[in-house]
Symmetry: C2
DNA sequence: TCACACATGTAACACGTTACATGATTTG
DNA sequence: CAAATCATGTAACGTGTTACATGTGTGA
């Protein structure tokens, strides 16, 4: 039941349509949770019928109508209770790691290609996060922001995302070096 | 369909019973994939009926009988094909990150407690991985191991696990510092 | 004109979690 | 004597993925 709280947390940034949320939760962008559009539409329907969000139909001229969602008081309360309960440990589930684990009987060239693709993705995400961080800081120093900003949550999750991608880069680079030196010999 | 390949990859280390695999895939130990015992028993049954693993019944005197699983040739082939296909991007899904994202409206003390718990867990996992690494190296230098070892896969995934936990430690520490300085003021 | 962005959804299936059930043996 | 370990499983439910369906407007 964490997707629902991730959606509520995303709506703290302001009202949004399912489509807009889908963009925020896209794997290639998400820095705190990822989900597909289908999951979001399903979850938004449930959240609405549970009274945790409110939908407002916005008619558009040259676009299909859209439903824009806002947190209700019950939604805020529910999110608060979620933050008070212990989080469960995250599970490690990354296909690339499985491929590496099996690389000795597998196709080492293909695994190396995948590592390079992951490296590219990590660089792209890191660049994106750096831009988001600049927007967030808006001229202030990190230190000043950490003391003065009204909302610190999104900043801390962004920091987490940056560190995670930096580690990804170091890991892929190291693994590629080991693999390619073994392929040469 | 990645659990199945994770199981096949685990069986590269040698035959194992469902129970033994369950220990290897436990969240608090797993360095390349995690799964619950129930998932494993279900998946092993399927793998067996698909002919990718073979079960052998081992009768025990003072213990319940156990089924010990081995890779078949078809299983090895299947695993090889998996390593040749591109891995899909991993999805970020960690409840603690959601809690942090919502910390401004949430219970900051509870989130801080969770961060401390995560920090402890990360230290424990790192210690475990360090011990596994020592066992793996068995006296050799990292450099020598990387050149000479027969299997490099488990070494590279272990490296990944270590880097990941180190990052976890740095992130939790930094987040705790920011949060606690804001709580004081 | 073709692809992409906007905007929402259904259906079917695969995967993951939780609770429950059983029962012997070893360790503290 | 109680708790942990060994060893396997069923049932029910919740979450995540994939394929498909629909239709307009904008930019290259």
């Amino acid at each position: 039941m964490a997707l629902r709280h991730a959606v509520l947390a995303a709506l703290l940034e302001g009202e949004a349509s399912g489509y807009q949320l889908a963009k925020r939760f896209d794997v290639s962008v998400a820095n705190f949770w990822s989900a597909t559009p289908q999951q979001l539409y399903r979850e938004l329907d449930r959240l609405e019928s549970d009274g945790l969000v409110q939908a407002r139909l916005v008619r558009q001229r040259r676009r299909p109508d859209k439903r824009v969602f806002t947190l209700t008081d019950a939604g805020r309360e529910n999110l608060h209770r979620f933050t008070a309960a212990p989080a469960r440990p995250p599970a490690m589930r990354d296909e690339l790691v499985v491929k590496l684990q099996a690389v000795d009987l597998g196709d080492a060239d293909a695994v190396a290609k995948d590592l390079m693709a992951r490296l590219d993705r990590a660089h792209a995400k890191l660049d994106l996060y750096d831009r988001l961080l600049e927007d967030m800081l808006d001229g202030r120093s990190a230190d000043a922001y950490e003391r003065e900003a009204e909302r610190i949550g999104p900043y801390l999750t962004l920091m987490g995302g940056r560190m995670y991608e930096q580690t990804n880069i170091r890991w892929c680079t190291a693994a590629l070096e080991v693999l390619s030196s073994r392929l040469r010999s």
